[in-house]
C-alpha cells in the first residue's frame, strides 16, 4: 500500500501577479516576489524566476508565444526521460501536457513540465523547470500557474 506523502504540495501559495507576452494576449499568474524577465527582443517570451538562494536550482516558468507554422514541435528529442505526455485543455484550447526530467550541464536534476496549444496561429507554451527534489513541494504552485494561462483572442483573427 502507498503511504500519504507529507511533503506533497507543502509549500504555501505565495501572493501572485500576472505577466504577459507582448500585446498582453497571453498571460500567466506567477509569484509576485519572483524576478520577471523578457527573453528575446519581440516580447514573445517572458519568464518568472525564483529568487536566488545561492545554492539550489532556481525554479522558473517560461511563457512563449512564437508564430506556429504547423503542428506543435516534437518535444521528445534530446537526452531526457519522458515521464508523461497527455492531451489536455490549455486555456480552453486542445493542447498537450508533458513531463520530462534531465540533467543540466551543471549536473542538476531538473524536471520540466510543459503545456502547449495553438491559438490564432501562435503556439502558446508554458514551461516550468523545477529542481527534481522539489517537484512534490512545488506541485500546487506549478498546477496553479498552469491553470492561470489565459489567452485573449487577437482582433480580426478567426479560429
Amino acid at each position: 500500500m502507498s503511504d500519504a506523502h507529507p511533503a506533497m504540495g507543502r509549500a504555501r501559495m505565495p501572493r501572485m501577479t500576472t505577466i504577459s507576452t507582448s500585446g498582453g494576449h497571453v498571460s500567466i499568474a506567477v509569484p509576485a516576489s519572483w524576478e520577471t524577465v523578457e527573453l528575446g527582443p519581440g516580447g514573445d517570451v517572458v519568464a518568472a524566476v525564483e529568487p536566488d538562494d545561492g545554492s539550489r536550482f532556481r525554479t522558473n516558468f517560461v511563457l512563449a508565444t512564437p508564430a506556429a507554422d504547423g503542428p506543435l514541435p516534437d518535444w521528445d528529442a534530446g537526452d531526457v526521460l519522458v515521464l508523461d505526455r497527455d492531451d489536455v485543455q490549455v486555456a480552453g484550447h486542445p493542447g498537450t501536457h508533458r513531463v520530462t526530467t534531465h540533467a543540466t550541464p551543471a549536473e542538476e536534476s531538473v524536471t520540466t513540465e510543459s503545456w502547449a496549444t495553438v491559438v490564432d496561429g501562435r503556439a502558446v507554451t508554458l514551461t516550468a523547470n523545477i529542481g527534481t527534489l522539489r517537484v512534490g513541494e512545488l506541485a500546487r504552485l506549478v498546477d496553479a500557474v498552469a491553470a492561470s494561462i489565459a489567452v485573449r483572442r487577437r482582433e480580426g483573427v478567426h479560429a
Binding site: M1, S2, D3, H5, P6, A7, M8, R10, R56, L81, V82, L83, D84, R85, D86, H97, V99, T101, A103, E107, E108, S109, T111, E113, G131, T132, L133, R134, V135, G136, E137, A139
Partner: protein
Amino acid sequence: MSVMFDATTAGLRLDAESFIALAEYATDPAGACDRTLRDLADVGAVVDGAPHPALRGGLAAVTNSLASLQVLVTDPEGVALHQGWLARVSAMLTDLGDGTYDFESVGTEFVPTTVARLAGLGPRPRLAAVTVTVDEEVLDGLVSNAARRRASAGEALADLLAPWPAVSAAARVGGWRTACVDIAFPVRDRTVARRLAWVDTDAGLLRVEADDRGPVLVPTTPTDLWRALVSILPADLDTDSVVCPA
C-alpha cells in the same frame, strides 16, 4: 564468484556475496574475507588496501546512509529487488535478475530518475476514476518469487481490472508490472518508513492505496506518481542532515 570492474566508468558488476564483502571491507578492512578480497583486487575494485577511489563515494553511502531504499519490480517474467542508500552522494545496487548486480554511485537528486527508469515509469493513457478493492493475497501473489503464483495472481488482477477493459486485457496477456518503493530513515528516536506502490500496464496506471475496505487500486498518472515518488524521500536530502517534514 562473479566480479567485473571498469575503473574508467566506475562500473562494478558483482554477485551478492562479493558486494557484502566489499561493503564490509569498506567498514572494517581487517574483517574481510581474503578469498573474496583477492577477487575484488584482481579486477581492480580494491587497490592498495582500499576500495578503488571511484567506488568510495558509493560505499560511503552504503556504510553511512541517511536513508535506505528498496525498489521491488515484478512482472510475469520475474522479480527484481533493487537497493539504494541515500546520502549526500547516494548509491544504487541494481538487480540484473541473474544473480548479479550493478553497483554505482548516484547523485542524490538523480535517485528519483533512477527509480523511474528501474520501474519503467512513462506516459500512459488516463483511466476512468473508479476504485476497486484488491485482496491482499492477490497483491502478495503479484510480488511472489514463484512464477506460477505470479501468473495466477496476474489472472486475478485482470478480473479485478474489469472497470478498465484495456487495462484488464493487457493484464490478461501478461502485460502487467508492479513497482513498490520503500524508504526508511531515522528521525530522532524512531524510524520513518514510507511506501509507494503501483500496478502498471501499457493501458494505464493504478496506485495501490488503502481505505477502510483494505487495499484498493486507484487510477493515477505518471505525473502524480513522479511527484509522489519525490515526496516520499526525506526532505533536504541535498544538505547535510535529513529533516523530516512535520
